[in-house]
Amino acid sequence: MKKFSTLVWLEHRRNWLWSLPLMGSLLFWAWGIKQVLIMSVEERLGIRAGLLMGAITIGTVLLVMMIGRIRSETRNGQYQVLLMSPPSGYTHILARFTYAAGVGFAYFIAIGFLFWWILELAGINFDTRSLFELILAMPFYGMSVVVLPILAYTLLLMVFVSAYRISGKGWIPGVAMLLGTPIAMQWLSEWIARITWTLPGWQVFANAPTALAERFGEFDPELSVEIGEVLHSGLPVEPMLVMLAVTAALLAIAGRIWQEVEA
């Protein structure tokens, strides 16, 4: 455990120049939100939500760039000196992933708060349950389905490429993996689509229509029925579980390769 926490601390030392500006960029997005001054409340809310979607995309790209930087940590022996013994490949991978995932969670929870803020600015007052779903459940779900697998995939890609650095031709493993991944992802997504909704959905924002109706008036009856059906279905749990399992598998493979190559 001491090794792991030391490695996470080293990850922070190495990456704070990335993680700090990433968190600081939220101030920029908050400033950008305040600059949207269109008269129509709906349009204003839409543009602000679009800005936050941009923040999510750019933040994800920055996290991927941060975790993907390969350094010659083991070759210059700093860990052996710090930890008195070489840490295992799995510990290395888990430490790097934990740091990036932690920064990611903090970032996306803050984005959840910004979403809550733009809703408040539009006069939509969520109750406590909806607020927690916005700032905790949605970041967790989104990260589990999209961000965590991408981070684990990036780690595996970098470790896989570095396994061939002695033999040269470093571009072949990278290109083969990048070209093969969409095909493998297609099979995976087809399988996920087949099993989706076999488990009960994760119901979120059950009280949101009330808040929206309080602000904008009652919905059209047909629209109310449709919204009710969507909320009753909830979020499918299967993609989240499958992608979390995929993340764990990618990390295990990356850790194994690191163990074989670097340890």
């Binding site: 896989f160 396994a163 061939y164 002695i166 072949i172 493993p173 083969a176 493998a184 390769i257 074989e260």
Partner: protein, 57 residues
């Protein structure tokens, strides 16, 4: 594009991906990397031969 041209393209693609598989197998001491490299080569060969993303004429 004629059928013959597409067959030649597929044969060339299979040859390239098979060569990549060979390089990925022999280019490292890590068995996990070899298996992973072979997996991606096999996926690409499968796609070049039986997949649907290439224009079938």
């Amino acid at each position: 594009m004629t059928q013959a041209f597409l067959i030649v393209v597929r044969i060339l693609a299979v040859a390239l991906f098979a060569y990549w598989g060979y390089r990925l197998w022999t280019g490292t001491q890590s068995w996990t990397s070899r298996v992973l490299g072979l997996f991606f080569s096999a996926v690409l060969i499968w796609q070049a031969t039986l997949g649907t993303w290439m224009i079938t004429g």
